[in-house]
């Protein structure tokens, strides 16, 4: 797993030295800050401020941010030709994929850590439910990992970053909004099945309300494993062309 660490470090330093990531991060923090503020204002009259408001908002924005964070990872290596060199280094394909995925996930975790400042502010104003804060952050952390894994897969499929981002946004949007289809089908059983397949079905009604269910954890972990497995296969396929 030595190779995985080296790839991980490389990806992290690529994030931290790229001006684009700072722009993306700034936009993310600006938007979450806006949501948090709004939540505070509403708490005066409408409803008590919820520690889950920012994670809930992030669950939607990850549909767009995850692809932006991962689109570069394989697409650029392919375009620059470095993938060929990487695949001739004494490192297994699994290590390369894991290193890249963990690099993205660690960076996302750093961003999440910054948004914890909202929780600190909240705790100075009111007495928030720390259980909900914890579960919603655990939830969005897993949720983020799953969306990043989807983004990574599409980055491996094409050498065009825009195409990679577009495809993964489309798929993530389906996984996010699939719930809507569940609401209009006549059969309750079918609706239930659809809901268990969507991202929202495993987040907005459990983690957000302080529920940590094994099935939800398994869902996100499953998506990560499946997506990474396919990514490894796709990366391998570069050798056969």
């Amino acid at each position: 797993m030595r190779g995985m660490w080296i790839v991980l470090q490389r990806e992290l330093s690529a994030y931290l030295t790229s001006p684009v990531t700072y722009l993306i991060s700034a936009a993310l923090l600006f938007l979450t800050g806006f949501v948090f503020n709004n939540n505070l204002v509403l708490s005066i009259t409408v409803a008590p401020a919820s520690p889950a408001s920012v994670p809930l908002f992030l669950s939607f924005t990850m549909v767009f941010f995850a692809p932006l964070l991962t689109m570069r990872m394989f697409a650029e290596e392919k375009r620059e030709g470095t993938l060929e060199l990487l695949l001739t280094a004494p490192v297994s394909d699994i290590e390369i994929v894991l290193g890249k995925f963990l690099g993205a996930w660690v960076f996302f975790s750093l961003l999440l850590l910054v948004t914890l400042s909202y929780q600190v502010i909240l705790s100075t104003i009111t007495q928030p439910d720390y259980g909900i804060a914890l579960s919603s952050y655990l939830g969005i952390w897993l949720y983020g990992g799953a969306t990043l894994a989807v983004g990574l897969l599409f980055s491996a499929i094409t050498e065009n970053q825009i195409v990679a981002a577009f495809l993964s946004m489309t798929v993530l949007l389906f996984m996010y909004l699939g719930d809507l289809a569940g609401q209009v089908v006549a059969s309750i059983d079918l609706a239930r099945i659809i809901r268990t397949l969507t991202l929202q079905g495993h987040f907005s009604t459990s983690f957000v309300y302080g529920l940590v269910r094994a099935e939800d954890v398994a869902y996100f972990a499953g998506i990560i494993v499946i997506m990474l497995y396919i990514t490894v296969r796709v990366v391998e396929s570069n050798r056969w062309r």
């Binding site: 030595r2 190779g3 080296i6 790839v7 490389r10 330093s13 690529a14 030295t17 790229s18 620059e80 030709g81 470095t82 993938l83 060929e84 060199l85 990487l86 695949l87 001739t88 280094a89 004494p90 490192v91 297994s92 050798r239 056969w240 062309r241």
Partner: protein, 305 residues
């Protein structure tokens, strides 16, 4: 050090490499020659463990590229045709990255030494995006050498850089021969002639000739070539006269004179002198033309294709 036996690679219906066999001994510089699309890159990609062959075997330092891919990859330094770089890294970071990925011990000293070797020490903290094309080429070479591999594989290392840098790269390839086995591809024959101990000529995926450049030339030269310049005769007259000389196989205009091809093992110089003076013309020039590998190559490829 490199052992290739009956190697074939098929892409769909296209046979890119067809039953290729050759060897490279330790410390030898072997050039793979061939026109674009001949299958050079494919052979190199198989030897670096990037892709598996369809059939046949390839061994590097005794390890099979299929069965011991990771062992092979540890022992091979590879510079693909398009130099693979991360524009956002500095020179040192880049070389360090590959050194660590390949498990180099004492990476720091090794990295500094190899950067010194490719003369990029004064640019070691520059971003790669700011380097010139020749510097990038040298940096690519540094990456291929940083783990001190037994075998160095260079895919068209002199393409797209200016003549001065071409000479530098050739020099460094020649120096690599001390201590490394070098396999490098080119479609420029004079380059192979200058640099290689041995050349393998490939066309349409097949080996069509192999040997050391000088012997290859001797072996393949189909006859003797002479350049003749005649004074006092019109071109048409001179040509007609030359074509009548026994032993002359072919006459070709070359500037103001003619290139003659004589039948092998015949000396036609006395006959030429005799014919020219008897017709009352003056023989201004008569000299043998050394055939370059270029000519031989075109000859062979022409026949094979």
């Amino acid at each position: 050090m490199i052992e290739v036996r009956n190697l074939s690679k098929r892409y769909g219906n296209h046979l890119a490499v067809d039953d290729v066999s050759f060897d490279a001994q330790a410390g030898e510089i072997v050039g793979i020659l061939g026109p674009n699309g001949a299958g050079k890159t494919t052979i190199m990609r198989i030897l670096t463990g990037f892709m598996p062959p369809t059939s046949g075997t390839a061994k590097v330092a005794g390890f099979d590229v299929m069965e011991d891919s990771l062992e092979v990859r540890k022992r091979v330094g590879y510079l693909p045709e398009r130099v693979p770089l991360y524009p956002d890294m500095t020179v040192r970071e880049y070389v360090m990255y590959w050194a660590r990925l390949r498990g180099v011990k004492g990476a720091k000293e090794q990295v500094n030494a190899v950067i010194e070797r490719v003369q990029l020490t004064d640019r070691r903290d520059s971003l790669i995006r700011n380097l010139s094309k020749g510097m990038r080429q040298r940096l690519g070479l540094a990456q291929a050498l940083v783990h001190n591999p037994q075998v160095v594989i260079l895919d068209e290392p002199t393409i797209g850089i200016d003549p001065q840098q071409v000479i530098e790269v050739r020099d460094s390839v020649r120096q690599l021969g001390q201590g490394h086995t070098v396999l490098f591809s080119t479609h420029i024959l004079s380059e192979a002639e200058q640099v290689c101990d041995r050349v393998v000529i490939i066309n349409n995926g097949r080996v069509i000739a192999e040997g050391d450049p000088a012997r290859l030339r001797a072996q393949l030269q189909p006859g003797e070539y002479l350049f003749v310049l005649i004074g006092g005769a019109s071109d048409a007259d001179a040509r007609r006269m030359l074509e009548r000389i026994p032993g002359v196989e072919n006459v070709e205009a070359q500037g103001k004179g003619f290139n003659l091809r004589a039948r092998p093992n015949t000396d036609i110089r006395p006959a030429i002198f005799e014919h020219v003076t008897r017709a009352g013309h003056v023989l201004l020039e008569l000299r043998p033309v050394a055939m370059t590998l270029e000519d031989i190559f075109l000859d062979i490829v022409g026949k094979a294709g």
